[in-house]
């Protein structure tokens, strides 16, 4: 299962990188979001994969999943969301001001 989850993560990163390298704001935002999801998954996976080991203390349970990465992921999700929301608004503003959705703020120059 490890290789499968790693591959899954890798594909998300690859697609995220590809989208971030596009010229328009829309795919760039999609790519950043995708990479954000991938990074959340990555952080979570550093705690390893365990099924049925919830982090709720109870007398019946002796082992728990690693809670530390989970705490990190929670923080990461929220901050990632804040950044994406800001980027969305920024891209809207850029479109309003510059009249283009190109990330450089202007249409590409014809190749010299």
């Amino acid at each position: 299962m490890e290789w499968l989850v790693s591959a899954c993560f890798g594909v998300m990163i690859a697609c995220g990188v590809y989208l971030v390298l596009r010229a328009r704001t829309f795919p760039v935002i999609l790519g950043l979001t995708l990479m954000g999801y991938a990074v959340n998954l990555f952080l979570f996976l550093t705690g390893r994969l365990h099924t049925n080991l919830p982090d709720i203390i109870s007398p019946d349970q002796t082992r728990y999943a690693d809670p530390l990465p989970q705490a990190l992921v929670l923080t990461a999700i929220v901050i990632g969301f804040a950044m994406i929301a800001f980027l969305v608004v920024l891209s809207l503003r850029a479109l309003g001001e510059l009249d283009t959705d190109h990330v450089d703020g202007q249409q590409e120059k014809p190749p010299a």
Binding site: M12, I13, C15, A23, P27, L34, F44, T51, D55, Q70
Partner: protein, 756 residues
């Protein structure tokens, strides 16, 4: 362009500040005079405070004979220049700035000659470079001043870097950074493998500062500075810093054939080239600048020797030159100030209107030409003795000195006769004598040239000998005498005067031939400097435009590529060890989930319509949330779902506003392929990284703490929540701040958009 300041008779009120500020150099001069008798007896004043002991950097100051000689020259010239400037610069808008730089420079110069720590010396050395840049560029509204200042900074600053390199090499070679410890360890360094490198670096520092060929051209160009600055920096003090450096390093690095040959050749070439070029210009200040080149060359030439005679010649000529050159610069400044020109062709007959200045110039030029009874004569005699006593190339040294001196004699005649006796311009406007503040310096220094010329024994015992003893361990007695009897130096002196008058006779012809010859030179160092600078700026422009081309795609591509290469470089060797055979195993639901995520990711990338892409993104988010759910993290799953929903709503908002997809021009195919390759490599790299992490056993130390204390210390059963709100609550506060800031910024952006 040139607007001469109105001639002044009296010292106006506005320049009292200049008068007051000349107290500082006078005070320092007095202090040095107090110490003088003790230094002559062989005492040394030294103080030392630790500054950065770990770097061998101490605030160590030491006054010995050499420091005293330089210190007296610096403070005396500093005093006369300050006094002079109080009238010369009167009425200038930025007089305060001028005196601040000037005195800062003087203190830095004193710092150089009094430092006993090599790093400290370097700091003062750089300070003089910076301050001279500011002083040359003092009239910064003039393009020429700015360019000259930049040229001087680049050349002397570059030399400063070499000096620093030399100092560090010296430290690597195990030499003490305390200058006074050097006398004993010269042999160790001279036999060291690093010796040639150290020598070249130190020499580069000295050559750039003291304007030796081929770095000489900044000095004549620096004449765009106001005259007091030229007199102080470019005649008496700063250009002598390189000479001082060579003197200080003489016991440590001197005496090898490399040292002697290099210094004699460079010094001789500079002396000849400077003296020849001095015939060329009509501008009195430029002429003086070229004669300074000659003097610096001769000094370097003599420092190439190792006999007491050569070194005495250097120390003596240093004094001779400082006295007559500063006097001449100041006098030329007076002429310029009173008449509004310093062009030889426009000047003449000034002896009537400026008799006192004429007298001072006469004394200074006689010393420069080396007439008997003047200090210059003593200097010339010892110069020929020193040149004949060189170890390497004595004939070259003697011939170079002879020709340079003859040319000097001719130039001295030009400087005095043409403006004061000649009839350059038929009708000169009535000219008034300069105020006393501007006459005192040339007069006193001209007078000293006579006094020292009459009593050379006193000078040699009280100034030259202590100075030479400081860097020449042999301690042979040094006596300058008035008349040596009829010997080779005397013959050479007479030859010099004869040759000089011949050159003076044919000066117009020589000037013409010389100027045309220089114009024909197809390669010159000023030309090389200019083309080098132009090329440098052009290439810097090209370089900047290439790497800062304003394309986000380009920046991101480079950043990701660098990241991939840096991580790959370290990680790739470990990859073969962690590769596992892909076996599909594990709970069926997990496998299905991962397949779902993969499919959704594909949709995000390959969707033709934006709505489908957003749908794919939603799929990925939901898949990740479910993964969290299955593997024991229901809280995260909940948060992820919530946030994902919001994200989708936001992105859909953009969708409504964007121009249609059809309007978007497609990126070129090659670029798409290149991006895809980079993405694939990045993805593969991170996949292997993830696999590697999953195969390392988990370190549960921190986790164990949280598990043990969550309920006991924080009274919470949900460990993740306890970490967030209790153990790491400050992190959570930070996170909240980020969200607030992002919301704030977003609201501001939206509101402004609506208004606009």
């Amino acid at each position: 362009m040139k607007t001469p300041l109105p001639p002044i008779e009296r010292v106006p009120d506005c320049c009292r500040g200049g008068l007051v500020s000349s107290i500082l150099p006078l005070l320092l001069f007095g202090l040095l005079c107090l110490a003088w008798p003790r230094v002559v007896q062989g005492n040394i004043f030294a103080v030392q405070w630790a500054w950065v002991p770990s770097l061998d950097l101490d605030l160590a100051f030491r006054l010995d004979g050499l420091g005293l000689l330089f210190g007296l020259i610096i403070t005396m010239t500093g005093f006369f220049v300050s006094l002079y400037a109080s009238s010369y610069m009167a009425g200038h808008q930025q007089l305060g700035r001028f005196f601040f730089y000037l005195h800062g420079f003087m203190l830095a110069m004193l710092g150089i000659v009094l430092s006993d720590n090599l790093f400290l010396l370097f700091i003062f050395w750089e300070a003089t470079t910076i301050l001279s840049f500011l002083l040359i560029g003092f009239d910064h509204h003039k393009t020429a001043a700015r360019e000259s200042a930049r040229q001087a900074l680049l050349i002397t600053g570059g030399g400063g870097l070499f000096l620093l390199m030399g100092i560090l090499l010296l430290k690597i070679a195990g030499e003490s950074m305390t200058i006074s410890h050097w006398a004993a360890s010269g042999d160790m360094i001279r036999d060291h493998a690093l010796y040639p490198a150290v020598f070249i670096c130190i020499l580069m520092g000295a050559m750039t500062k003291s304007a030796q060929v081929p770095f000489h051209f900044w000095l004549p160009n620096a004449m765009t500075a106001p005259t007091p600055i030229s007199a102080f920096l470019h005649a008496a003090t700063m250009v002598k810093a390189g000479i001082y450096l060579l003197m200080r390093f003489h016991p440590l690095l001197g005496g090898t054939s490399l040292w002697m040959a290099t210094l004699v050749i460079i010094g001789g070439t500079t002396a000849l080239w400077g003296a020849i070029q001095a015939l060329g210009p009509c501008d009195l200040k430029r002429i003086l600048a070229y004669t300074t080149l000659m003097a610096l060359g001769v000094l370097t030439l003599f420092l190439g020797g190792r006999t007491v005679l050569s070194l005495t010649a250097a120390a003596t000529f240093l004094m001779v030159h400082a006295l007559y050159k500063a006097a001449l610069f100041l006098a030329v400044g007076s002429i310029d100030h009173q008449t509004g020109t310093r062009n030889l062709d426009h000047l003449g007959g000034l002896v009537k209107s400026m008799p006192l200045t004429a007298l001072a110039v006469a004394a200074a030029t006689m010393s420069m030409a080396g007439f008997p009874l003047f200090f210059g004569f003593i200097g010339k005699e010892i110069m020929y003795e020193g040149a004949l006593a060189e170890d390497m190339f004595p004939v070259f040294a003697t011939v170079a000195t002879l020709f340079a001196n003859s040319l000097m004699t001719a130039v001295a005649a030009i400087i005095f006769i043409t403006p004061f006796m000649g009839f350059g311009r038929q009708k000169m406007d009535p000219v008034k004598e300069a105020p006393w503040t501007m006459r005192l310096g040339p007069a006193v220094m001209g007078l000293l040239g006579i006094v020292f010329g009459i009593m050379p024994e006193w000078v040699s015992a009280h100034l030259i000998q202590p100075a030479v003893f400081s860097f020449q361990p042999d301690r042979e007695e040094i006596r300058l005498v008035f008349f040596h009897g009829i010997n080779l130096p005397l013959v050479l002196s007479i030859l010099t005067l004869t040759l000089g008058s011949v050159i003076y006779r044919y000066r117009t012809f020589l000037r013409h031939r010389m100027n045309t010859a220089i114009d024909r030179l197809w390669i010159t160092t000023p030309g090389l400097y200019q083309s080098g600078l132009d090329n440098f700026l052009r290439n810097a422009g090209i370089f900047t435009n290439t790497i800062q081309n304003g394309s986000l795609h380009f920046y991101l591509f480079i950043i990701i590529l660098t990241l991939v290469m840096a991580v790959g470089w370290v990680w790739l060797p470990h990859v073969p060890g962690i590769l596992i055979f892909p076996v599909i195993s594990g709970p069926l639901i997990a496998i299905g989930l991962f397949a779902f995520i993969l499919a959704s990711t594909g949709v995000v990338v390959f969707a033709k319509k934006r709505l489908s892409a957003i749908g794919g993104l939603g799929g990925v988010g939901a898949g990740v949330a479910l993964t969290f759910m299955i593997f024991g993290a229901p809280d995260i799953a909940l948060t992820q779902l919530l946030v994902e929903t919001l994200t989708l709503i936001f992105i859909s908002l953009v969708l409504l506003r964007l121009p249609p997809m059809d309007a978007v021009k497609k990126r070129s195919r090659s670029r798409t392929i290149r991006d895809a390759c980079l993405s694939l490599v990045a993805g593969l790299l991170l996949t292997t990284l993830m696999m590697g992490i999953l195969q390392v056993p988990l370190d549960r130390n921190l986790t164990a703490f949280f598990e043990a204390n969550s309920y006991i210390a924080a009274h919470g059963r949900n460990i993740v929540n306890v970490i967030l709100v209790d153990f790491r609550s400050l992190d959570t506060l930070g996170e909240i701040c980020v969200v607030v800031l992002a919301a704030w910024a977003s609201v501001t952006l939206i509101r402004r958009t609506k208004e606009g």
